[in-house]
Symmetry: C2
Subunit: 382 residues, 2 copies
């Protein structure tokens, strides 16, 4: 089994030689703290967490998987402890504003961390990963009271968040969303419906989960122009921030997603669950795009992470597995055959993998710089 | 869940319009019986078996998988009955010589059947599939007595066969084979070693399994020039063809192969197991190439089968799943959205899949005609 090793040299080459982050950070309102020393220390700390805590539970987590029983989901052995270490290290708040308890660093710093965490253990990375979209959506569309109530625990990682779009009859075509939200006298809403494929929809890592849910008001127009957006906490949050009653949102089952068996993908039933509207009535889909765009960046990071993971796995195997003799003569005469890495075509394939992994990392970090410059991509605190 | 439907129209188009099989069969020594009517009837019969017997246990077989206990492997529900139907229909012997109980038809007829069986249920197809290589190897290298003893039950499908090459330290690099074969006074050999990844290495479908095994004689030269080939039956076969004592070859575990959980992939331990040499001493690897080339054709058929299966699955989904409206206007106004197949790009992708599946089928059948013409490919009874 290959051991994960963070590609810090490649990352530093990108930061210092290719993308010139120090000039870039100097131009950002939140770039002052991102000094080269600070970025260096963050990369080292993230690498240690990913190599020593997240990578060792990747294979075992996949083998064990999540288990579902009576509406509860148990994550595989070691996930709770790893998540605790993640939270205690302050890793969730790296690039979120200090006013919500974050460290206020540029988002590109966090992307390096996410790439490392994703490569070390993508299943694990899904739990804090979904929270990022939830936080971005609340920051952009939440009322001041909502921000005050929900953001600090989310930014701290004490709670996680989810994105509830898909229903059995609609994935891409959200015009078909059926979940209903009925307004109540006190300004809240009662949501009823079933959402499927909800990543991190239920788990045992935190005391609360904040669901961001697409639903339709009773008098809403048909199609995408009649969709509103709601906060539906798993546990109702009192005005003072303490946890109140369990809300009527329950996990009905977990689903199988190839390769991420340690990530809980839930079917969620909302039965008159209490929700709070975010953004304007019938403008929910537009607001949800903040979450969806964050998730898209997450998916891009997954691509980078898988490229790196597959390269590291292949490299380790090519170094230890012996087959045939090198064309240029015996390299390891003490063994019956030479290691695969001595074969020119194997080496060519490994270098291609390495180039892809590095190029993709470069690409995603470049996109961040570009979107900061153009401002065209709706993201908070780039 | 999509239902498998044999692409008989495409196959007949290939046979009659593209490849002109009737002219081709007229030129073959064993082509006289392959009249258009006969080929038509065989295609219909194979389609019925694959659609009605093999396809219905594909999904359930994958979910249930094979189970291993105390050296025995139990195939999933329905596999025994399906294999019985396969044997009773005479499907194993389609293209093998009549002198061994086969129907003596050209091999290309059998490829159509294998493609259908593989598309309907690749896991199932592995069991009779490996036997084909075993039969070809025995036909080419077996002594008259070995052929008489082993071929009729294999051709009938009463027994199956395996290809035992890989050991933990060597897959591709067979120079590293360590399994030993010690000559005995009576002309037999005692084999000791462990083979891994042995497809159909142990199962409950037949009373006997004929392993074709690479091993090294005590005085053999190092490398590939010191490898010999042996018949090692799971149950010793008496000279009169009846089954004798259980041989010392035992399944130690079964392994996970993604997508073919209903196919038993075994680790086999040989502990002084009785074996019989085939082909010349130290020329075993060359002889094994008859098996390996048959397996390569099987793998090519798997490619064709998966292309067809994926096309059929995608087509069924595109017809039933509704998402968005067609660009050219509502097609199914009675529903909230139009079926995916109405979207031009979905249709383009489906047609690409269909073209690939058809092109691959054409390619593999063309290769058969070519190899028959050039005779360059070492196969018995093309």
């Amino acid at each position: 089994m290959p051991t994960y090793k963070a590609p810090l040299r490649d990352m530093r080459f990108l930061i210092n030689e290719v993308l010139d982050y120090s000039t870039h950070y100097a131009s950002l309102s939140n770039g002052a703290d991102a000094t080269p020393d600070m970025v260096d220390a963050i990369l080292d700390g993230a690498a240690a967490l990913c190599e020593d805590v997240l990578a060792p539970i990747n294979l075992s987590g996949d083998a064990e998987g999540c288990t579902f029983s009576n509406g509860n989901v148990t994550t595989p052995s070691g996930f709770k402890e790893a998540y605790k270490a993640f939270v205690e290290g302050g890793w969730q708040g790296l690039s979120f504003p200090t006013e919500y308890g974050g460290q206020g660093l540029p988002m590109s710093v966090n992307v390096f961390k996410s790439e490392m965490a994703g490569t070390a253990n993508w299943s694990f990375n899904m739990y804090p990963g979904l929270s990022i979209g939830c936080i971005n959506t609340l920051m952009q569309y939440g009322t001041p009271a909502q921000k005050k109530l929900y953001l600090p625990p989310l930014v701290a990682g004490e709670w996680t968040g989810t994105m509830c779009l898909t229903e059995a009859q609609c994935g891409t075509d959200l015009a078909q969303v059926k979940t209903r939200a009925v307004p109540q006298a006190d300004g809240t809403f009662k949501l009823t419906g079933t959402k499927i494929f909800i990543s991190s929809g239920e788990h045992d890592l935190t005391d609360n989960i904040i669901h961001i849910v697409l639903a339709r008001l009773p008098d809403a127009p048909a199609g995408t122009r009649g969709i509103s957006l709601f906060i539906v906490p798993k546990v109702i949050v009192n005005d003072d921030g303490t946890l109140g009653a369990r809300n009527a949102v329950n996990c009905g089952s977990i689903e199988h997603k190839m390769g991420i068996r340690a990530s809980s993908t839930a079917l969620l039933n909302f039965d008159d669950a209490t929700g709070y509207m975010i953004a304007e009535e019938n403008k929910g889909l537009e607001a949800m795009f903040t979450f969806m765009n964050t998730a898209r960046i997450g998916t891009a990071i997954q691509g980078v992470a898988q490229a790196e993971a597959s390269f590291q796995g292949a490299l380790a195997y090519a170094r230890e597995r012996r087959s045939m003799r090198a064309l240029s003569g015996k390299k390891e005469p003490e063994f019956a055959a030479d290691a695969l890495i001595w074969h020119p075509d194997v080496r060519r394939m490994l270098l291609t993998q390495k180039a892809f992994a590095f190029y993709n990392l470069n690409a995603i970090e470049s996109v961040f710089i570009q979107t900061i410059a153009t401002g065209k991509f709706k993201m908070v605190l780039l």
